[in-house]
């Protein structure tokens, strides 16, 4: 019997005695997926808005840091106190810590080997995924691989980018070895990480490291796992086709007022308005959350004529701005052949995440991380980079044929340089607004050139952009290490080009 002063919280489980049974590890594993959602709440600022795909609705009347920080990411004027780039860092590590707790206890637990493989495999996928985000955004970061239980263990210096990559590769390889291929039932999978997801992740890592042959082999290994393109591009994002045969990995959401599992991306991606009904079908005032990730004209222009992906990806919100920078919606229109009504303004918005839902600001949309079209285009790229332009055409054209509804737009050139640009362009339009653009620009060495040109054009268009915006150099390819982390841990160095 415990003494009178031995008390433990009765309304929650306690750490010391937890992590014994498979059910407990399964719960811990589910908990390790959750930080992905926090990551996605911020990833579109750095993954899309920092690229030439999207911009933001300038909010003249509110210049608080909640607005300026997010604008600064897009404008390349962000600094180490930017809470939105900091959040990427924090949430990736929350995911890593949860994985480390699982991995730290599972070897000593009496689980079946099958269960151990499945749980540890998913855990390692998640750790690799988070470190891959971190290393691409921040460079070499502290490498936490053990559960932290005391303050002293929380202070690690930065590892090199090579060390981080080595760990990612080791984890991803282990995940591939331990996980099963996806189990489709009625063309749907559960939504957990699979052998395919781990292979796709490792392929992208290899692509980043220009290890094209290794990437190609992994991407080809996906072929036997039941993946396929859906016939209709718009269906890929539909809430009726979650975790479909095209999905390799996506972050799960579920609408509902009770469970707290919902998404709300569309409410953040449409213009600030006191009534969203015209677009979302439900009344909501999104003025405190909306106005971000607005597709640019540059993005719209990137679609070729006849590409069904334009209409599936971007819609037009029509209405009028009032003097408080609020948008009064009057119509939801197709972008195809759009001309505004007299006296009205059309604002493009991301349509991929707009599907019917029951309650305002509470949507059912999942977020795609990896899908088969991505794998096909990556394969084409891997093959083209190895001089196998002929082979690259098949996966590339498979994606294009779906987009155009026919083979009339097939690519025929096998010229490596031409094909490189074509594949890059294809990735941009196929994977638009799925947080790939910035990573692709950096990976392919195009970021500085593309973003400076884009910035120059944008400054012509918007007089609120000051001269210091869009000064993109090599230093700006990495985000700054959060200032607060460096204040706590003086051993953490800052990336070049940011205030020390």
């Amino acid at each position: 019997k415990k003494s009178f002063i031995e008390l433990a919280p009765e309304d929650q489980v306690s750490g010391a005695t937890f992590y014994k049974t498979e059910a407990q590890f399964r719960q811990a594993l589910a908990g390790a997926y959750v930080p992905l959602r926090d990551l996605l709440d911020n990833d579109f600022y750095t993954g899309e808005m920092r690229s030439d795909n999207t911009h933001y609705e300038f909010y003249q009347i509110n210049r608080g840091t909640a607005y300026t920080y997010r604008e600064n990411i897009a404008d390349f004027t962000d600094d180490p106190t930017n809470s939105y780039t900091n959040a990427i860092y924090f949430h990736c590590y929350t995911g890593i810590a949860r994985v480390n707790t699982i991995l730290g206890h599972i070897d000593g637990a009496s689980l079946s080997e099958t269960a151990k493989d499945d749980i540890a495999g998913q855990a390692k996928f998640l750790r690799a995924f988070n470190y891959f985000k971190l290393v691409r955004y921040f460079g070499g970061v502290p490498l936490f691989l053990e559960e932290v239980t005391t303050a002293d263990e929380a202070f690690l210096p930065r590892a090199t980018a090579e060390e981080v990559y080595a760990q990612i590769i080791a984890d991803a390889q282990d995940a591939i070895a331990r996980l099963e291929a996806p189990a489709f039932s009625n063309d749907q999978q559960p939504g957990q990480a699979t052998k395919g997801a781990a292979a796709m992740l490792l392929a992208e890592v290899y692509m980043t490291q220009k290890k094209y042959a290794e990437a190609e082999a992994l991407l080809l290994s996906l072929n036997g796992m039941g993946y396929d393109l859906l016939p209709d591009y718009a269906d890929v994002f539909s809430t009726a086709h979650k975790n479909s045969r095209e999905s390799i990995f996506e972050v799960q959401y579920m609408q509902g007022l009770q469970e707290g599992q919902q998404s709300n991306f569309i409410y953040r991606f449409i213009p600030r308005t006191s009534n969203t009904t015209v677009l979302t079908g439900l009344r909501y005032n999104n003025s405190s959350i909306g106005g971000w990730n607005t597709p640019t004209q540059d993005m719209i222009n990137a679609y070729e004529a006849g590409d069904t992906r334009l209409d599936a990806s971007i819609g037009m919100a029509e209405g009028t701005y009032n003097t408080s920078n609020m948008f009064t919606l009057s119509a939801n229109k197709s972008i195809i052949g759009y001309t505004p009504e007299p006296g009205k303004t059309g604002v493009p918005y991301i349509k991929k995440y707009l599907h019917p839902h029951t309650d305002p600001n509470n949507t059912d949309d999942n977020w795609p991380i990896y899908r088969y079209a991505d794998a096909l285009l990556l394969l084409a790229e891997a093959q083209n980079e190895q001089g196998k332009g002929g082979a690259a055409l098949a996966p590339l054209n498979r994606v294009r044929a779906r987009a155009f509804g026919n083979n009339d737009h097939d690519i025929v050139t096998t010229d490596q340089a031409a094909l490189r640009d074509i594949i890059a362009h294809e990735r941009r339009v196929e994977l638009a607004f799925e947080n790939h653009r910035w990573h692709d620009l950096v990976r392919t060495g195009k970021a500085i050139e593309v973003m400076n040109a884009y910035g120059a054009a944008l400054k012509q268009q918007y007089d609120y952009l000051s001269p210091s915006t869009y000064q993109v150099n090599a230093n700006r390819l990495l985000l700054p290490i959060p200032q607060s982390e460096r204040e706590l841990n003086p051993d953490l160095t800052q990336n070049d080009g940011y205030p020390q």
Partner: protein, 1003 residues
């Protein structure tokens, strides 16, 4: 040489029993010579007098009895004098103070203790006792940081503060350490307050005593005629004009928008049009004054009825109270119903005493706890509404939005304040029973058994009519808490060999607190007709929780006095607490103190004007356990996810545990002296204290790369020291009587050590990272940019550091603290200090014939206030919010630079003004007249049922003399703890109350 004589005497109580250990002090009034003695077991004392020539004064005092003074003109040298004295028992006496686990003669106390009689503060038209104590006791800071009815009071004793483990003292009511809120205690029930300031006075409360202890005794009936007392007051509360924000009128705001527009066109090439609403500002007048629209004059009333009756065998007191305080913010208020029954019995010739105390109370808070501080506070509501729009339109409807063009669209605050419901109902029961059994000579067993039971429900409803989504939301929650305390002590009192007086105590104490709570919230109500969750079609959240802590303690104390003038006290408490890590469950809290009553020494006869002089010193260790209930245990919380389109339960470690978490210890030294002169008409107390608070417990921020943000840890050490002086004077004692008391305290603190990196910041946002706690600095020093005016001209701009591209002529210039030509985060530095140089209080009581008059003031000198309320809310220059009228005088052009305080409105340049900077600092010194009362006692015939009748008029918060521009210079963001004092994020305004009161006593 004059012959000496011997005086013998017998001292008995009213029952004819001999009293042992009674102090008998004798003084020759002409020579000042003194002698003292104690009675023996037979109640007999013997004193050799210094001489026969008088006059002589005898003072006979004993614990628990009314002190008697006798005069003898002269003594007969030929025979022995004999005195027979009967001492009357008293429940309280001025010469006796309440101490931890007992009472003690005031003169014998070796710790720093101040006792205040509640009768002296009963006239104040307030309903919290804390308000009565403002400025009354040296070293006890009582701040009213907001004016929420029935709430908002904070204590800080001797600057006590830890970084985050609270600063509130422990409140002990009739021996029960209370576990819940103290604001449900009806002040009318209180007899005395005793503040234990130093470690020797408080160490018997061990791990809870680091912030000081306030002992409260409630009223018991005293022997005498039974009586009924009726007290009431009725008052009106108003927000003082002083410190109210002077906002632009509708016309001024329209003019501002015109000028803002002109400047955008002129400097930014803006091509848009000016909104129609702002054209022709002369058509507008005052417009809506939203401050006035949201506030009001509000009544406060209070009724107390006390019945008391006592015989030798039993006494009972019943106090019934009712308070109703409406709030000065619309649609807020509180009501409190209280009852207290105190019943005492004596059996077996006072050998057995048994008593019961029972105090139920019921409070109804209506919209009283709505967030009125910080974001969403009153000031923000005011600046987000346009003076061009009325809260209620001509059709009697409340518009949902009340913003003019260019302003942020927020919901009509008048509609929010009047339509939202947030009611709390609190039931509280304090109960205790004691038994004192004097089973052997000098040996008494005392037990105390107490419960503190609380229950609270909350019902919240926010109607669809004030929802931007047109959806109503509701919440229902309840909290049930229960705490019990059981204590038993053995007390032994004995005088040995005449001069050696010993008082020993040993005991055991057990306490447990348990709480259960649940919350349900819902939405999608069919309409606004039914405000209860039964109407909600969607339940959005539901949870139930429980928490507990327990404390297991042993206590011991030994008081020893030799010749009644050399005093020594040793005390220790050993606490075992459920809150601490498995390796650190138990803590020992010892103290030692000594005193010397110099005035009883023979050589003091040369200073006859000195009536009493004592020096004392103490040293001891106390603890602070305000660290939450389970900081040593890692917490695992739900973190659910979705697979297969279905919810799957998930879990994740939400909080790191720390099994090494140790006690926060407070090591305190106190040196003091007490002096009374001129027939005790002038008394003076001085104390110096020095405290080292080590093992400070705080949620230590750790790198978030660990997956966690903090770990509760022992993080550092603070040194606190200070001087306290108190002076009580009976200035005039004739037809006009005038008593005055004055106290002043100088409190200092310095952070001596902190874990890496040597400082804690408030947060990572430059606009609200107000302070930094750093080694070598005082607690809560403000941190930010240094304001250097506006850039005067191109020359100035060129030669000064700039904030990126955003600086321009007429924008705010900050000091380039790290001189690199760029204004950035690294240019933030320490800019101010909220800690006052000294705090003081001054009370005067005058009486002339049937009139009485009193005034009490409290004040603070030297502390600074950081005023984000003004600079982050009231002066936002982006045209999106209402503005202070002073902003009219801002920079418009090099020729029209304005007052140099407010910059230009150029887009993208103003944000830096909302970063914490030295412009936000103001001197927080003030003198506040807490209360002024004028009373008149009405003469009555002797045969009436009515025995006494007094009427009075009283003004609470009568006036404040301060240079501070805000409403309340006592404001602090989150109580008076070390990390929030002196920050004005606006709060519920503290009203001024004008009241009329009546006190009637019936036979």
């Amino acid at each position: 040489q004059e012959r000496k004589t011997m005086i013998r005497g017998l001292v008995e109580n009213e029952n004819g029993q001999a009293l042992e250990g009674v102090s008998v002090d004798l003084r020759n009034e002409s020579t000042g010579a003194k002698r003292s003695a104690l009675t023996n077991k037979a109640g007999v004392f013997m004193i050799e007098t210094p001489g026969a020539t008088g006059p002589y004064m005898f003072r006979i005092s004993h614990l628990g009895y009314v002190t008697q003074t006798l005069h003898k003109e002269s003594l007969d040298p030929q025979k022995e004098e004999a005195l027979y004295v009967v001492l009357k028992a008293s429940s309280t006496s001025l010469d006796e103070v309440v101490v931890s686990y007992g009472r003690q003669q005031r003169r014998d106390v070796t710790g720093a203790i101040v006792q205040l009689d509640a009768a002296g503060v009963r006239d104040m038209p307030v309903n919290q006792f804390a308000q009565q104590l403002q400025g009354k006791i040296a070293g006890v800071q009582v701040g009213q940081n907001n004016g929420q009815p029935g709430r908002g009071m904070e204590f800080r004793i001797r600057g006590a503060a830890s970084l985050s483990s609270g600063n509130q003292p422990l409140f002990v009511i009739d021996g029960i350490p209370v576990t819940g809120s103290i604001n449900n205690i009806n002040p009318a029930e209180i007899e005395t307050f005793t503040v234990l300031k130093d470690a020797s006075a408080s160490s018997l409360y061990g791990s809870r005593a680091a912030n000081g202890v306030v002992l409260i005794t409630t009223r018991h009936a005293r022997p005498g005629d039974p009586k009924i007392e009726f007290n009431t007051f009725y008052g009106v509360q108003v927000i003082p004009q002083q410190g109210r924000p002077r906002m632009m009128t509708a016309r001024e705001f329209a003019e501002f928008q015109n000028e803002y527009y002109e400047d955008r066109v002129k400097y930014e090439g803006y091509t848009g049009e000016l909104a129609e609403e702002y054209r022709n500002p002369e058509r507008y007048g005052e417009g809506t004054n939203w401050f006035n629209a949201l506030t009001r004059a509000a009544p406060v009333q209070n009724y107390d009825l006390t019945f008391s009756s006592a015989t030798e065998r039993s006494s009972s007191a019943v106090i019934v109270g009712y308070q109703d305080q409406q709030g000065v913010i619309l649609n807020t208020g509180t009501k409190l119903f209280t009852l207290r029954l105190n019943q005492d019995f004596n059996f077996s010739d006072n050998k057995l005493k048994i008593g019961f105390g029972l105090a139920p109370s019921y409070r109804i808070d209506h919209n009283n706890r709505l967030g009125t501080q910080g974001v969403n506070g009153l000031m923000e509501k005011i600046v987000e509404a346009s003076p061009l729009i009325a809260p209620v339109d001509e059709n009697g409807d409340m518009p949902l939005y009340v913003n003019s063009p260019g302003m942020v669209a927020n919901v009509n605050p008048y509609a929010q304040f009047t339509q939202r419901k947030d009611d709390y109902k609190t039931t509280r029961l304090l109960g205790n029973t004691y038994l004192h059994y004097n089973f052997l000579d000098g040996l008494t067993l005392k037990t105390n058994l107490a419960v503190d039971k609380g229950a609270e429900t909350r019902n919240y409803f926010s109607p669809a009519s004030i929802s931007t989504a047109g959806v109503a939301t509701g919440l229902s929650s309840s909290v049930d808490n229960y705490s019990w305390t059981a204590e038993a002590t053995l007390n032994y009192v004995k005088t040995f060999a005449r001069d050696h007086y010993v008082e020993a105590l040993a005991g055991y104490s057990v306490q447990k607190f348990e709480q259960e709570s649940n919350t349900v919230s819902g939405t999608n109500f069919p309409g606004d007709d039914v405000e209860w969750l039964s109407a909600a079609t969607s339940i959005t959240d539901g949870s139930s929780n429980t928490t507990a802590y327990s404390l297991l303690s042993a206590i011991a104390r030994l008081n020893y006095s030799f010749k009644d003038r050399y005093l020594l006290s040793v005390a220790v408490r050993r606490d075992g607490s459920s809150r601490f890590g498995s390796a650190r469950k138990y803590g020992n809290f010892p103290s030692v103190s000594a005193g010397w009553i110099i005035s009883s020494e023979k050589f003091m006869e040369k200073l006859p004007f000195v009536d009493f002089l004592k020096i004392r010193a103490s040293y001891g260790i106390t603890g602070n356990n305000n660290i939450g209930n389970y900081p040593s245990i890692p917490g695992i919380a739900p973190s659910n996810y979705v697979f297969n389109g279905e919810l799957v339960p998930g879990l994740a470690i939400s909080r790191l545990g720390n099994s090494e978490l140790a006690w926060e210890r407070n090591k305190q030294l106190d040196i003091g002296f007490e002096l009374a002169v001129l027939d005790n008409r002038l008394s003076f107390t001085y104390d110096y204290y020095h405290k080292i608070s080590d093992g400070l417990i705080q949620d230590r921020p750790i790198p978030r790369a660990s997956g966690f943000t903090t770990i509760t840890s022992n993080v550092g050490e603070i040194e606190l020291w200070g001087h306290e002086l108190a002076l009580n004077a009976n200035i005039i004692d004739r037809k006009l009587k005038w008593d005055a008391s004055f106290n002043i305290s100088f409190d200092r603190n310095k952070i001596k050590a902190l874990v890496a990196p040597g400082f804690f910041r408030r947060n990572n946002t430059v606009s609200s990272d107000y302070y930094r706690n750093q080694v070598g600095h005082a607690l809560g020093e403000f941190y930010g940019f240094v304001f250097e005016g506006l850039y005067k001209d191109e020359e100035d701009l060129k030669n000064s550091a700039r904030w990126g591209d955003n600086s321009d002529v007429g924008t705010i210039k900050m000091r380039d603290v790290v001189p690199d030509g760029v204004i950035d985060n690294n240019d933030r530095t320490f800019i101010g200090d909220p800690n006052p140089d000294f705090l003081y209080g001054f009370t005067n009581n005058l009486r002339y014939k049937r009139f009485d008059f009193s005034i009490s003031v409290a004040g603070s000198v030297g502390g600074q206030i950081l005023n984000p309320s003004k600079w982050a809310y009231l002066t936002n220059l982006d045209g999106a919010r209402m503005l202070l009228a002073a902003v009219k005088d801002r920079w418009r052009s090099p020729e029209d630079p304005g007052s140099g305080i407010y910059p230009r409105t150029k887009t993208g340049t103003t944000a830096i003004g909302r970063y914490v900077n030295s412009q936000w600092l103001e001197d927080g010194s003030y003198l506040s007249a807490k209360n002024i009362t004028l009373g008149y006692t009405i003469p009555l015939g002797s045969n009436l049922l009515l025995r006494g009748l007094r009427v009075y008029g009283s003004v609470q918060h009568a006036f404040i003399i301060t240079g501070y521009s805000g409403i309340n210079p006592e404001i602090s963001l989150d109580g008076l703890n070390g990390t929030s004092i002196g920050i004005d994020e606006n709060a519920y305004p503290v009203p001024r109350t004008f009241a009329l009161g009546l006190t009637a006593t019936f036979k």
